[in-house]
């Protein structure tokens, strides 16, 4: 965190100054470790084993927060008789369809509920719930739950308040994690048992009524074939310890760029609409009604999804959206499969995808299997790159590695490449949304130089010109574009659209055009328009609430007059859980919100994330729906059952409980189960440029004996577009390097500041060598493991140059999020510079041959 979020790390230092203990778990010793109380190096790719070990410690020593678990989690809920755990099936769950590499989660459901398929790999639930229409789609839906879980079907789940029923979630959890012993953690992760015990003691002693523990993570957890389950493992632990919905608790996703949170709230993702409303899949005869029936929950705030969606459609299409035409629901595109960034690359190679916009993204360096990215772009008709500098993704056609090797020649590439300079955040108005869901407005400081323009300017004027060109068209295909409300006021000599007008549209208006104050005002009859329901209220009273900057000393410690947080400016989600079932704070020390019986309402330091006047004793009447159906103790108001999910019956594609699987490419076998890898990992085709490696004890796996992981340095930013061209930053880390231990350097003859060549089945790169104790060897499976650290900022362009670490990566993805496994893979490393020209690919082919790699390697279930 100090390494990649130094500004945010000041608050960790503040916490430390107040007595907090900081534990840093990371394969390498970083700037964070240097300031931590405890550094725990572990093998990259083994975190579920590590976290599962802590869960086991908590459960087997009865250190969980029992009152919290019983009241607020699904721990007491009894599962159906058909469920089989990994304990029963040696590493897989019931419902595995081996042929299609997917789970049918019908057997994962609660006892007493209707059988319910998940919003999973295939949206099979659509058929069941609508009784018509056949799904032709295939795409993950995990991200659709960015603000609450999936639906679970009709009925009341069976509960056992004593949590002793053998099929209750709590008991299933106990059995599932029983094998995650300290000995196992030591063997799998390389974390000595006494060090592991220290972590367990620190975490558990600092959790309970009086104390809370927070977890912060970044892409070190997400970029795995089991990335979502990493976060889930932390969620299980935090729920058991009662650390969710309470001050000082939570699981904090540290984002990789400013406003990455914003880019999922108002998504740049293919499978989401604003506010985590799922993008409709292609079905025959699908209308608004059947879509809402399939997607909306019966209980909780997602029960009002129709109001959110209709208001969104009204924001998009204004007067053209009427009750008679389903509010232009048919104007929305439909998914016909997964259209993630990696599928898009394959579609480029197949000639299906012909045009590509890159807004501040540099896939020729920053995406996994960078070579495949360039080959895909070389097959386009046109490519638009908007960035600050001539990044590699804009120049691969004249100076990329494939030009050097002779595989591509400039005159044969027919892609027309447009480079359009972009304005920086200081050169435009706008908002950033951070990990706490906090929107903070930034004001333009200077005009952008030369031809540089904001993304808002580019998008608005592109849309305006496209609409002018389509004007008068009678082709129904053009209606969605022509019907759009595209009337933003512009200002200044550059005709810059007013960013606040966009914010006002996102906030929403009532029928008279007045700004809305809360999503609870949204209607499903077309009388309200709102661009993103969770952001409703950010422009309440016609005031840009995100631009508020009341100093901390002038308000209470929650400081909710600084910026604005969704939903409804609540700073801690699910904060009803900060009080006990009777509505009293769990402790004075950790008081946040509580029930004021005299006034008959919830009150406190934060804005209560709960229906304001609902008493703790409230039981919903039969047949109640949406928010009305929440009982007085259903603290998790976005969840379909109002509970925090220790166990996920619905909504994840790869299992209801986090389970340790080895990474796609791993030098080790899975010690916990016979199942080596996540059986439903999203495996892109094994193309010649995307070969997978043998793992564990398979022949050839020791050709790639070292675990590698990629990461960032404080001095640079992601794929380097914002930093490698800056002399003041480039000089601080002037060259691509790899980090290795003195032991590995001795083993492979690597010289400090000399050159090393690093090889995988996909590519070969060279890097200067930093020999350092900060990359400690670990004892894993009883033998010494060396890890290779690879900062991924570099590419051949810019002021500071180097090879791109992403040349080494494969395209095995997390099945929920389609995120690549850049944080744990296997490589070989040798001294000296890499071969040039065609010899480079020849070396990779020689390695493949030595390891016996073909198109089937690593594609086993």
């Amino acid at each position: 965190m100090a390494e990649c979020h130094p500004v945010g790390f000041q608050w960790v230092m503040e916490a430390k100054a107040r007595g907090a203990k900081v534990i840093h778990v990371d394969p390498r010793f970083t700037r964070t470790s240097a300031l931590a109380d405890l550094h725990v190096p572990l093998r990259a790719g083994s975190d579920i084993a590590f976290l599962g070990g802590i869960v086991n410690y908590v459960l087997s020593n009865d250190l969980y927060f029992r009152d919290y678990v019983v009241a607020y989690t699904n721990g007491p809920v009894v599962l159906g008789e058909d469920f089989r755990d990994t304990e029963d099936l040696d590493g897989v769950f019931s419902g595995l369809d081996a042929e299609h590499r997917s789970y049918d989660n019908a057997s994962w459901q609660y006892q007493g509920m209707e059988v319910q398929a998940a919003a999973g790999q295939r949206d099979a639930e659509y058929d069941r719930r609508t009784g018509r229409g056949r799904s032709v789609s295939e795409a993950a839906r995990g991200e659709a739950h960015g603000s609450g879980g999936a639906d679970i079907g009709e009925g009341e789940p069976e509960r056992d308040e004593t949590m002793t029923h053998p099929r209750c979630v709590f008991q299933v959890l106990k059995r599932h994690y029983a094998r995650y012993t300290p000995e196992m953690v030591e063997r799998i992760c390389g974390v000595p048992q006494d060090l592991f015990r220290q972590v367990c003691e620190l975490v558990t002693q600092n959790s309970g009524r009086d104390r809370t523990t927070a977890f912060a993570y970044a892409v070190g957890w997400t970029q795995h074939t089991v990335g979502v389950q990493y976060i889930r493992a932390a969620a299980v632990l935090q729920l058991l310890l009662g650390n969710i919905g309470r001050p000082g608790g939570g699981i904090l996703a540290l984002r990789g760029h400013a406003s990455i949170q914003g880019s999922t709230d108002i998504p740049t993702l293919f499978n989401l609409l604003p506010g985590y409303i799922p993008m409709p899949h292609a079905h025959e005869h699908q209308d608004l009604e059947s879509f809402v029936r399939a997607e909306a929950q019966r209980k909780g705030f997602w029960g009002d999804m129709r109001a959110y969606l209709v208001s969104l459609l009204k924001a998009y299409w204004g007067d053209a959206a009427t009750a008679d035409n389903d509010y232009c629901f048919d104007h929305l595109p439909r998914l016909t499969g997964s259209h993630s960034t990696y599928e898009t690359v394959l579609a480029q190679l197949d000639g299906v995808c012909k045009g590509y916009f890159l807004y501040g993204e540099n896939p020729a360096v920053g995406s996994a299997d960078a070579r495949l990215q360039r080959l895909g772009m070389a097959n386009l008709d046109w490519l638009v790159v908007r960035d600050f500098s001539l990044i590699e993704s804009a120049t691969w056609w004249k100076d990329g590695p494939e030009i050097e090797s002779g595989e591509l020649s400039t005159e044969d590439i027919r892609t027309e490449v447009f480079f359009l300079p972009a304005a920086a955040h200081t050169e435009k108005d706008g908002s950033f949304t951070n990990t706490q869901r906090l929107l903070q407005w930034h004001h333009q400081a200077v005009e952008p130089p030369g031809d540089a323009r904001s993304d808002l300017w580019f998008t608005y004027h592109l849309g305006r010109i496209v609409r002018e060109k389509l004007a008068g068209s009678t082709d129904p295909m053009d209606r969605p574009v022509l019907d759009l409300t595209w009337d933003y006021p512009v200002k200044g000599a550059m005709a810059e659209p007013d960013a606040e007008a966009v914010l006002a549209e996102i906030n929403g208006r009532d029928a008279d055009g007045n700004p809305l104050a809360s999503y609870e005002q949204l209607k499903d009859d077309g009388s309200t328009a709102c661009g993103c329901w969770i952001y409703c209220g950010v422009y309440a009273d016609g005031v840009n609430q995100a631009a508020r900057r009341t100093p901390g000393r002038e308000q209470n410690w929650v400081a909710n007059q600084w910026g604005w947080a969704w939903p409804a400016n609540r700073r801690i989600l699910y904060n009803r859980a900060s009080a006990d079932p009777d509505g009293r704070p769990w402790s004075e020390r950790k008081a946040l919100v509580w029930w004021d019986a005299e006034k008959g309402q919830w009150t406190g330091h934060d804005i209560p994330d709960f229906p304001k006047d609902r008493p703790p004793s409230w039981q919903p009447p039969p047949g109640a729906r949406a928010a009305e159906a929440l009982s007085g103790t259903d603290a998790f108001v976005m969840q379909a059952d109002g509970k925090g999910w220790l166990y996920v019956p619905s909504g994840l594609t790869d299992g209801p409980l986090p389970t340790h699987y080895e990474p796609q490419d791993s030098p080790f076998v899975n010690l916990l189960y016979r199942q080596q890898r996540n059986p439903v990992r999203h495996l892109m085709p094994s193309l010649p440029d995307n070969r997978y490696q043998p793992s564990g004890d398979e022949p050839g796996s020791q050709v790639f004996p070292y675990v590698a992981t990629t990461y960032r340095l404080t001095e640079h930013h992601t794929a380097g577009g914002m930093s490698r061209w800056q002399p003041y930053l480039a000089e601080l880390q002037p060259e691509f390097f790899c980090e290795v231990s003195p032991e590995l350097a001795a083993e492979r003859g690597l010289e400090h500041t000399g050159w090393a060549t690093i090889v995988s089945a996909r590519g070969v790169i060279e890097a200067r060598v930093l020999v350092t104790d900060r990359m400690p060897p670990l004892t894993v499976h009883g033998r010494t493991l060396h890890q290779v650290g690879l900062p991924y900022h570099w590419g051949p362009n810019g002021y500071s140059t180097g090879d791109a670490a992403n040349e080494l990566l494969h395209l095995a993805l997390d099945p929920n999020t389609h995120i690549q496994e850049t944080k744990a893979f296997a490589v070989d490393i040798r001294p000296g510079r890499r071969p040039r020209g065609p010899a480079a690919q020849a070396l990779v082919r020689a390695y493949r041959a030595r390891a016996g790699i073909d198109d089937r390697t690593g594609t086993e279930l």
């Binding site: 130094p6 109380d37 209470n556 000089e731 400690p776």
Partner: protein, 345 residues
């Protein structure tokens, strides 16, 4: 820097102050007044608490951005994450990175925070049922506290990574001032030592005069350059760029007397927490340069960070040397005269 000349003229008029001379030796010298500034503001300086430095180098970049300092060149040094290597004409802040096989620890923060005390604030709200939120120091029993013994993975010795942001010391007795023949270097009303690039003739005397090796001559320019403690910002009531950019308050800017008090308390706090290595560097007016206007809290010997253990103002012995030389000259002259006097006729 033209501001310097304005200041040198003195706000109250009258005889121009002699801002270009170092000071008589002695503790707690009022440097600005001694340099001729009438009613100067308190002496300002830096306290760099390296125990909370996270090595982000924001100070280096902020300094260069504000002062227009050129890049120092692309060189991967292999000295941990330190590719700046040292202070010089093109690096006015320098973050050192020292990897040591020593137990982790000694990085406890605990700086006095000007920000709100959330616990106190919560208590003051009075809306909390019951007595309010107790202060953190009254945490209930069972809370983890005290030392965390380091455990070495794989039998490896423990690791410690020291980071420290170095800067011009703005000495009480500044040899660079003494040797500057042009008056380019001068003492400001804030007690800081500033080099005016438009007066500097590039003689380079100040470079070897500095006991810390701070000043450097810029290639292709020839003139000497160093930290100005953001004299232009100070005049406008702003803190220096590096201190402003520091996310963890490792670089603290303020009146030197206040910083010294804060530093003493911080060392005491660290000692009480068992961090016996903590010590101040450049804080004592008794040292060889009369104390630094920019001083440090270190967690190891100064040499570990590349700092001289016992810096001495290089012009300290000049008066004595001149005295000796004068004596020698007089003796020689006397001998010569005596030779004539006693010459036998």
């Amino acid at each position: 820097m033209n501001d310097g000349e304005r200041t040198a003229a003195g706000p109250a008029g009258g005889a121009p102050p002699d801002t270009h001379r170092s000071l008589p030796h002695g503790p707690r010298a009022d440097v600005a007044r001694a340099a001729g500034h009438r009613d100067p503001p308190p002496r300002m300086g830096f306290f760099t608490d390296t125990s909370v430095c996270i090595g982000c180098k924001a100070c280096e970049v902020a300094c260069k951005e504000w002062n227009g300092v050129p890049e120092h060149g692309l060189e991967l040094t292999g000295m941990s994450y330190d590719n700046t290597q040292g202070l010089g004409a093109n690096s006015w802040r320098h973050v050192a990175f020292v990897e040591q096989r020593k137990p982790l620890g000694g990085q406890e923060p605990g700086v006095a925070h000007a920000g709100p005390d959330v616990f106190k604030a919560a208590r003051a709200l009075g809306t909390s049922p019951g007595a309010g939120t107790p202060a953190p120091e009254t945490a209930p029993a069972g809370a983890p506290a005290g030392e965390i013994p380091p455990v070495a993975p794989g039998g490896r010795t423990e690791l410690r990574w020291l980071m420290s942001s170095d800067v011009c010391k703005h000495c009480t007795q500044a040899a660079c001032l003494d040797v500057c023949p042009t008056g380019a270097l001068f003492r400001t009303e804030f007690g800081t030592v500033v080099l005016q690039e438009d007066v500097c003739n590039g003689c380079g005397y100040c470079v070897p005069a500095c006991p810390y090796g701070v000043v450097g001559r810029r290639e292709g320019d020839g003139r000497a350059w160093k930290c100005t403690l953001c004299y232009d910002r100070l005049g406008a009531g702003l803190e220096p760029a590096c201190a402003k950019a520091c996310p963890t308050d490792s670089i603290q800017f303020g009146p030197l007397e206040e910083l010294r008090e804060r530093a003493a308390a911080r060392v005491a706090q660290l000692h009480a927490a068992g961090v016996r290595d903590a010590r101040l560097y450049g804080e004592s007016p008794e040292d060889g340069v009369g104390g630094d206007g920019a001083f440090f809290l270190l967690l190891d010997e100064p040499e570990v960070y590349g700092l001289p253990p016992d810096p001495v103002v290089t012009t300290r012995d000049l008066p004595a040397m001149w005295k000796q030389a004068a004596l020698a000259a007089v003796s020689l002259a006397a001998l010569g005269v005596a030779g004539f006097v006693r010459r036998p006729r």
